[in-house]
């Protein structure tokens, strides 16, 4: 058999081994064209395109998650540990950071990114010669996201910085959903808030690596039952580390600073 090249080029036809019939292989269509063709073939009797269903797994916070991973890599590369501090407004995040910068920040270089809806009051309160601070005003957004943190960090001189504190917007709900690229999430609960906050706002407490029970110096005056609060924290976040402290009296502050030292930032 001497097939002529123009009718049976090997790359165009296949010869069936038994019947000897020649067949052309189907051409591969580009994905959009294939979709169009299958939609046309599947079109309903009225000529309208048939409804197709696709199963997906598209994460809704994909953009934030990618940026958070980028932040995490950046922090790791610089050998610094980032902590994301979240709590209700007024639970003592800024006061704790002031004291931390004054005591711990003199030996270990720290930096702060602080978010609020408006004003740079916290940024001004935290300003120290030995610790760079960036204030982010979210303009109404109820949480910090990874891109805001990236921009805040960009404006800081991180030379020699070992610990980065990210003071989130005061809010016990929304910050739970947004990974900022931190290594440690710290959730604060103050004695002025009520012992059952962890039960009322469980997602954020569940996401905590460390829970700080703050303002314990005034717990008795408030009739705040510390043991009940501790029990509630334990039930929601059984594996989180728990420290009870008062930034004003100093109770428990040493334990918090020991915790920071234990994070052992490299480099």
């Amino acid at each position: 058999m001497n097939p002529t090249p123009e009718i049976t080029p090997a790359d165009e036809c296949q010869i069936h081994p038994l019947s000897g019939a020649a067949a052309r292989p189907g051409r591969l269509l580009s994905a959009p064209l294939a979709a169009e063709v299958s939609a046309t073939l599947a079109a309903g009797p009225d000529g309208g395109a048939a409804v197709r269903a696709v199963d997906l797994r598209v994460p809704l916070l994909e953009k934030n998650d990618i940026l958070a991973e980028r932040n995490r890599g950046y922090f790791l590369g610089r050998g610094l540990v980032a902590l994301n501090l979240v709590s209700s407004p007024g639970s003592g995040k800024t006061t704790l950071l002031e004291r931390t910068l004054d005591e711990f920040g003199r030996q270990t270089k720290c930096a702060v990114v602080v978010g609020d809806l408006e004003t740079d009051n916290d940024g001004l309160r935290l300003r120290r010669a030995h610790a760079p601070v960036a204030q982010i005003t979210t303009g109404g957004t109820c949480h910090l996201d990874a891109s805001m943190v990236a921009r805040g960090v960009e404006s800081l001189d991180l030379e020699g910085v070992k610990i980065l504190f990210i003071e989130n917007v005061g809010n016990l709900v929304c910050p739970a959903s947004f990974d900022l690229g931190e290594q440690v999430r710290v959730v604060l609960l103050s004695c002025t808030e009520g012992e059952d906050k962890p039960l009322k706002y469980p997602p954020i407490f569940k996401s905590a690596n460390l829970v700080l029970l703050t303002k314990v110096d005034i717990a008795d005056a408030l009739g705040f039952k510390r043991d009940v609060a501790v029990e509630n924290i334990r039930r929601i976040a059984p594996t989180a580390r728990l420290i009870q402290l008062s930034s004003r009296s100093g109770e428990g502050v040493a334990e918090w600073l020991d915790y920071l030292r234990s994070l052992n930032p490299q480099r």
Partner: protein
């Protein structure tokens, strides 16, 4: 409070998928939302109409599927489902678990389009 932004990214993703499939209309969208995601399904539904207005997803049906939490008990070396609430007690040994295996989901899981 940020459900509007989350819905925006859900609708963006859906419109992107629809374009990739040469579809001009989205009929139904299914989201899977974990009980630990911190996102309120009712707020999502509220945001849906606002966000889809004037897009290929306008008038589409939205289904929000709740994903229950699952936790891991290290003592029993097994996973257990959490029926309700946020206190995860192992049904076999009664110990508290802090290791969440499922419940953080926030994803677009199904799209019906033409």
């Amino acid at each position: 409070m940020h459900e509007l932004g989350i819905m925006e990214s859900a609708v963006d993703a859906a419109l992107r998928e629809a374009r990739a499939h040469q579809a001009s209309r989205i009929h139904r969208m299914v989201l899977r939302i974990g009980t630990l995601s911190g996102v309120e399904p009712d707020s999502l539904r509220f945001a849906f109409d606002v966000v889809t207005e004037g897009t290929a997803a306008a008038g589409a049906q939205l289904e929000v599927e709740s994903v229950p939490a699952r936790a891991w008990c290290a003592a029993c070396a097994q996973e257990f489902g959490v029926e309700s609430g946020f206190i995860y007690v192992c049904p076999h040994c009664g110990r508290l678990s802090g290791e969440v295996r499922q419940g953080h989901e926030m994803e677009l899981s199904r799209l019906e389009m033409s």
